[in-house]
């Protein structure tokens, strides 16, 4: 062969870099058949219901979103940490009081209440990573009922909310260490000594769900990351992964990535509760704060590679899976072995008096799942699923036997689009996972959707996990930004559709147009407003400039979906009342003039006519109040 021909051949090969990455596996007809099957599996006929609720965290939007599985249709937004004019949240006195001084939060990890390790469908607890709060949503009406916090001493409420197997506690840990109590100053140069991490046990009233801070354990200034609570044998325990056990500051991506192993913390919440009851520790920031050195057996550390993120208990509570996001495998700890090591004091050292147990005594497997393993979920057939952030994939692997053949445990892998964070398998953190579906919540969608400009949505992909493989069957785009989620069987709950009149204990509720009236006491004007299809009674509220005005708006309906809004133009007010609900608004009538109010939530054929006037007489123009 001539030299020229060889050169030509080389050039031809070199010039043929593909336009796009070649598709793996077969193409053409096979793919189409799969797409049809996927469409059939996820199609929920108009008027038909989904099989599961998907509660996904809204991240820094501060809200919780509800979708259905398998359709992945967004059904509702539950406002939690941010005002939401759509339901009037954050405008009435009650929700304003819950929000306090904040207008945003960062929801990461929703946690359904449990009984014997399975969801009982009563409450959903969610954390606020930013302002150290915890909220409770009641699944009877899908409304936020309590926001606890900012929790004293704690900062960066990331490793939360994870409820114990009978919802005794929601467990919380600090991602960002600070000097405590909050508000204390210490320079960053004293980070290692004056800054502290905090693990908190938030007690939950078993009848009302009311949360209170039970106790706190002060820890070295590690950055606590994710948590999980145990079942059965591990039922008294919670675990947290950590990063920055280097106790570094500055550019953590470097400074906190120096050690080959960080830690997983094992905390016995039952022992902590008993110690708090026995008066251990001292009150800091109004909360009982305990030193783990004074309570033997309350806290252990176990080394875990490297900058671990996810921490998850298997359904039977026997194993804990921890994933070092910078290691290509996920580590399985045996909880029985952990208990033995703790009992026999099988340690390799300590961190500020907290025993560090011998890694080799507890680890039973390092499963080579792939690059950037984060979170692990479980199904009902003995499989685990681990998200692979760097690889943009989900690995499926067998939960044992853990006999040293770790690489044979991985049975399948599916690419996702792109950079998956959390995954949630149906019931995947309970004693009895439902199986069937898994949702991969991907941080990047990178133009897989209609182009909406630079601010791109996240993607949530539904994966069929039945059998030994995995099949991608649907893709939805999510509001920023889903972290963890919960999947609840739809038939487990029966939410109400109207608030029964008889349950409305608001002393200012009224149930007839005749009772709608405006009364004045000194400089305060109180208006009780009845809203019903399709009018407000009264439709005229007249006050004097400078008055304090209180509106009590009652929705007199008992018909489902007959909501009424009450928006006041120019006064930045919009509340929405559900059937049978009363809400209270307070404002200062500081702007004179005539300000229309109207029903903002479309109700009926005469909705447009449902309006009235808020008349503010300029100061000095007399004080009589018109009533009608």
């Amino acid at each position: 062969m001539s030299r020229r021909l060889v050169l030509l051949a080389v050039l031809t090969v070199a010039a043929c870099a593909p336009e796009s990455q070649p598709e793996a596996g077969g193409g053409g007809g096979g793919r189409l058949a799969d797409a049809r099957e996927a469409a059939q599996r996820t199609f929920v006929e108009p008027g038909k219901l989904d099989e599961y609720y998907l509660f996904y965290s809204g991240g820094h939007s501060g809200q919780v979103y509800v979708a259905g599985i398998p359709s992945m249709r967004h059904i509702a937004t539950i406002p939690v940490f941010a005002p939401y004019p759509g339901t009037g949240y954050g405008f009435d006195e009650e929700s304003k009081k819950m929000l306090g001084e904040f207008t945003w939060g960062d929801v990461h990890h929703p946690s359904l209440s449990k009984k014997a390790g399975d969801y009982d469908g009563r409450w959903l607890f969610v954390n606020d990573n930013a302002n150290n709060r915890l909220a409770r949503i009641d699944l009877r009406d899908f409304k936020t009922k309590q926001i606890l916090g900012p929790i004293a001493n704690s900062s960066g409420n990331h490793g939360s909310a994870f409820v114990t197997e009978n919802t005794e506690y929601a467990l919380v840990a600090s991602r960002f260490s600070i000097p405590i109590p909050r508000g204390t100053y210490a320079p960053l140069s004293r980070y290692a000594t004056d800054y502290h991490g905090v693990v908190s046990g938030i007690a939950i009233d078993s009848t009302t769900g009311t949360m209170t801070v039970g106790w706190q354990i002060v820890t070295p200034p590690f950055n606590w990351d994710l948590a999980a609570t145990g079942h059965d044998i591990s039922g008294d325990w919670a675990v947290w992964s950590s990063y920055n056990t280097e106790r570094a500051t500055g550019r953590l991506e470097v400074t906190a990535s120096q050690r080959d192993r960080d830690y997983m913390a094992f905390v016995n919440w039952r022992k902590a509760t008993a110690a708090a009851a026995a008066g251990k520790g001292k009150i800091i920031g109004g909360v009982r704060v305990m030193d783990p050195r004074e309570i033997p057996g309350v806290m252990y550390l176990v080394p875990l590679a490297k900058s671990p993120h996810g921490a998850d208990f298997t359904p039977d509570g026997r194993y804990v899976v921890g994933s070092g996001k910078l290691a290509p495998y996920t580590t399985v700890f045996d909880f029985e072995k952990f208990l033995k090591a703790a009992e026999s004091n099988d340690t390799t050292g300590s961190e500020e008096g907290i025993p560090v147990l011998r890694f080799e005594s507890i680890k039973v497997a390092e499963v080579p799942v792939g690059l950037g393993p984060l979170h692990t979920q479980f199904d009902d057939e003995g499989y685990a699923y681990t998200s692979l952030f760097i690889e943009s994939a989900v690995a499926k692997w067998k939960l044992g036997p853990f006999d040293g053949h770790d690489s044979s445990l991985v049975v399948a892998k599916i690419p996702v689009h792109f950079s998956v964070g959390h995954i949630v398998a149906a019931g995947g953190d309970t004693r009895h996972p439902y199986g069937k579906y898994l949702v991969s919540m991907n941080k990047l969608s990178k133009g897989r959707h209609l182009n909406v400009g630079p601010s791109q949505p996240e993607s949530s992909q539904l994966i069929d996990i039945t059998g030994t493989g995995m099949k991608m069957i649907y893709e939805a785009y999510s509001e920023p930004e889903p972290h963890f989620a919960q999947v609840l069987k739809a038939d487990l709950i029966t939410p109400i559709e109207v608030y029964p009149k008889a349950e409305n204990k608001d002393p200012n509720a009224i149930w007839a147009a005749e009772d709608g009236k405006v009364t004045r006491r000194g400089k305060t004007v109180e208006a009780k407003i009845y809203s019903i299809r399709s009018y407000f009674a009264p439709s005229e509220v007249e006050v004097q400039q400078g008055d304090s005005v209180i509106f009590h708006v009652t929705n007199g309906e008992q018909e489902r979906d007959m909501l009424h809004g009450f928006g006041i133009a120019g006064y930045n007010i919009n509340v929405v009342t559900d059937p049978g609900e009363t809400k209270t608004i307070r404002l200062k009538a500081d702007k004179p003039g005539v300000w229309p109010f109207y029903c903002t939530n479309f109700c009926s054929a005469m909705h447009q006519e449902m309006q009235g006037y808020f008349l503010v007489r300029p100061a000095g123009a007399g004080t009589d109040v018109a009533q009608r």
């Binding site: 029964p500 019903i532 299809r533 007199g556 309906e557 008992q558 018909e559 054929a605 005469m606 006519e609």
Partner: protein, 217 residues
């Protein structure tokens, strides 16, 4: 035998028991709806329901539907339906008590004319109540406020069966209570017919059945 003679005849013990049993239906009927009205529309697929009991009005969905009906009706200027506006709710329970007493009278004294009195009065009561009910429906549908937002032609809501009104399909049917009262009248009627037939057969064969039975009784 003459008609007056026959009317003085005494019912058999079995007939008395049947009369007593029928009377029990009157008491049972007190606890069941006499009429039920259901309205469907595109956005009310589950139906808006109202039950007319002898002594009360009950809306579906734990009572909410009654308010719902009134809210909808106010758009066409129909006046609100309130239990207090129905004198029937007072006189029907009273009348049923009275009829039970008359039933006892019939079972105890047991002359044919007691049975006739009971049946005739009851049929009158039934027709009167039905008439009053129809008139009430007529009034609701014809006394519409001329200032209402929606103008509709005066109408009579359906009394029996289905009617399409604006965007609603309205179904109106008797309830269990009415069927019980109907059964009461039917049983008494049949009893009377059986007695009359026996008398007729007896008079044809000229056999003094009655006398014999009276002796035996």
């Amino acid at each position: 035998m003459s008609l007056t003679g026959w009317l003085e005849q005494v019912l058999s013990p079995r007939a008395r028991i049947i009369v007593l049993g029928a009377g029990a239906l009157l008491l049972v009927a007190l606890w069941f709806p006499l009429w039920e009205i259901t309205m469907f529309a595109q956005m009310f697929p589950e139906g808006i329901r109202m039950w007319v009991y002898p002594y009360k009005l009950v809306g579906g969905k734990g009572g909410a539907d009654l308010a719902g009906i009134n809210i909808l009706n106010h758009y066409i200027g129909m006046r609100a339906i309130h239990e207090a506006d129905f004198p029937e709710m007072k006189f029907i329970p009273f009348a049923l008590g009275l009829f039970f007493l008359l039933t006892l009278r019939t079972a105890i004294f047991a002359r044919i004319h007691h049975l006739v009195d009971l049946l005739v009065l009851f049929i009158y009561f039934g027709l009167f109540s039905l008439g009053a009910f129809i008139y009430r429906m007529y009034s609701f549908g014809h006394q519409l406020d001329p200032g209402a937002p929606f103008k509709v032609a005066p109408f009579t809501p359906p009394i029996f069966g289905h009617q399409h009104i604006a965007n609603f399909d309205v179904y109106s049917y008797p309830g269990t209570g009415t069927y019980l009262l109907g059964a009461f009248a039917l049983i008494l009627g049949l009893l009377l017919a059986v007695e009359a037939r026996r008398e007729w057969a007896a008079s044809r064969s000229k056999t003094p059945v009655r006398a014999e039975r009276a002796v035996l009784a």
